[in-house]
């Protein structure tokens, strides 16, 4: 059961696709021998999650590309035979943490007291108090959870019901998520923060800066066409009369905000 969950966290889908249900109503494992092997190794290695994750990320299965051939798609559309690495939307906490990390606002400190999530309205009688918009850069795992009102931003990206054991989260794809990324004040604050950091950085040209943004947001180099596309956009976002385009914080914030709204930012592959 646990080995299957770890596999699911690493690979996107479990060897048993129904992690909460190994019974007759659940799905059969696609690779029962692999699951047995991993479970035995997990026990032999003293129940170390770290060692199991290491074993999985070193596998050829994990290191596969995300591309699917037409033939593979036709024969096994559900990827039960693991012919590619699936594209996944980031989980709620990862969306928030990625925004903090890319914007340069993430506080990597471990442990400490939980931090209250931001709230529009406080309710003292229900002990629902408001915290800072960016949670002081703390990772989402340190956000204080309340069953009465879980952090709204995370709920938007399918934070599960806090009272319901949830082996596999929903991944919905709804317009409300687009509205959050377009208009939510936290996302806007992160874009501003990124813009501020960018104009402080020593980039010789807008092209160089766009390359740095690609590295931060997508962990890859842009193509020439992409460099052209994004530098053209930042010129359009620039306020007239700004002599040095590299110093126009507002324009770079707008560009950063656009990065946050791309599907590549929100997905993992």
């Amino acid at each position: 059961m646990y080995a299957n969950r770890v596999w699911q966290w690493v690979m996107g889908a479990g060897l048993v696709a129904t992690p909460d249900d190994f019974g007759r109503l659940g799905e059969k494992p696609t690779h029962p021998e692999v699951l047995d092997y991993l479970a035995n190794e997990l026990i032999r290695e003293g129940w170390s999650t770290k060692k199991l994750v290491r074993r999985l990320v070193l596998s050829r299965t994990f290191r596969q590309a995300g591309m699917v051939s037409d033939e593979a798609r036709a024969r096994d559309p559900g990827n039960r035979l693991r012919h590619h690495y699936p594209t996944r939307r980031l989980e709620a906490e990862a969306v928030r943490d990625s925004l903090l990390a890319v914007a340069g606002r993430l506080d990597p400190k471990l442990y400490g007291r939980p931090i209250l999530p931001p709230r529009v309205a406080e309710d003292g009688a229900k002990r629902l108090f408001a915290g800072p918009l960016d949670g002081l850069g703390r990772r989402s795992i340190y956000l204080q959870m309340s069953i009465m009102e879980p952090p709204k931003f995370l709920v938007g990206f399918n934070l599960p019901d806090l009272r319901l054991p949830t082996g596999r989260r929903d991944t919905t794809n709804v317009p409300a998520q687009a509205l959050i990324l377009l208009n939510d004040p936290f996302v806007e604050a992160m874009a501003r923060h990124w813009g501020r950091e960018l104009v402080k950085a020593q980039h010789a040209t807008p092209e160089e800066r766009v390359r740095a943004m690609f590295a931060a947001a997508f962990a890859r180099d842009p193509s020439d066409a992409e460099v052209k596309r994004w530098t053209a956009a930042v010129r359009e976002f620039s306020s007239p009369g700004q002599p040095d385009p590299l110093k126009d914080e507002g324009a770079w914030s707008q560009l950063g905000h656009a990065f946050f709204n791309t599907k590549e930012f929100l997905h993992y592959r």
């Binding site: 591309m67 990827n79 699936p86 939307r89 019901d161 656009a258």
Partner: protein
Amino acid sequence: MNRHHPFARRAFLQRSALGFGWLAFNGLFTTQARAGTHHAARAKSVIFCLMDGGPSHVDTFDYKPMLKKHEGEKIGAAAVSKRSQSSPNRVWLGSPWTFRQRGQSGLWVSDLFPNLARIADDLCVIRSMTGELPLHGQSNLLLHTGRILGQAPSFGLWVSYGLGTENRNLPGYVVLNNDWVPNGGLENFGSSFLPASHQATMMRAKGVPMDNITPKDAATIQRRKLALIAEQDSAFAPLSADARAIEGAIANYETAFRMQTEVPALADLGREPEKVRHLYGLDSKDEHQRYYATQALRARRMVEAGVRFIEITCPSFDGNNSPWDQHGLLKVNHEKNARVTEQSVAALICDLKQRGLLDQTIVLWAGEMGRTPHTPAISANGGRDHHVNGFSLFLAGGGFKGGTAFGETDEFGNAAVVNPLTVHDIHATVLHQLGIDHTRLTFRHGGRDYRLTDVHGRVVKEILA
């Protein structure tokens, strides 16, 4: 061939799971109304007016002259119930409001509700509701999720999940909230194990109606940004393993862009004629009544726009107590609650009727409980306590029989004695009118098929026209 092979059984159950869920499956992919209902639907949307806190049945729709006659007398051990805050030494309390028979039907409605009294012939009153525990949180969760412990999807979610949406630019389940979340918390409106795409959208009466609906950017900037994003995304979709999901996410941006104008336009009541605004009470001096009137009028506009399930909660004027929860000051505060809500509810029903929409819209008016017909001691500032041993609610439109009173409590209004009903029966009957068989609207979770009505519920055919 081994007919008893366990995997054959597994395959069978999986297939039947799909079979049971076809309606819901349909709902996920169709935008056409009533395309995949179990039977012909009578109605297509629901407006649920939650009378949060528990309005007193014996002061509104359940006329009990015996209470006045025996006022001040001890209720005795026989009248004590676990479904009521009761003890033998409490005394009967007569209603401070006069009851009259109204309309052609002669339905009893007290003077507390002068506007609803005028449309008595449209109301189908149930006087024999029973609950499980006389507690707000648990009773609210029962009313919303069919379970006193919650941890299950809300009524509105089930309807949205079962029927899909009629308007892709608007959510299927909208909660028109004011400034107060009812006891039981947001779980009352939660999706729980149902797909979160049906989750409730909250619209506020005060200020900006919906979160993140106001564009942060000027229109030209946003359009330029969206073009940039679309250009970048169109290259990403074919490179990813699940192009369909990515394309869906791209399409969401177009919908979101339209929602930024459509939702505020829907919420904007500025262009409603003066007559209509007055009818709902938008010109009231009482701010709480204005909030409620705003929400009621928005509810009508949402029905017109194709939203499936709209819930209106009551504004709280009393700090940290549920609006209708009058343990004391019954007279003053029930009157205040009535003033805040009943004109708008009556206006909503009239307005829907005038527009020919009442036939296809179910208006459900219900609190999570009633109130005790007895009180600890007679006093001018007295009140009534929690009571689910027999209370009233009403339905209007959607093929329910108007001018009807169904079920009876005993002569003191203390216990449902004729045709007692549960919340499950109401859920089953409302779903029936929407074309859904409540026993077949299921979702597989934790190894079994769940329904809104769990293992309960009957369609109350007697109250259907």
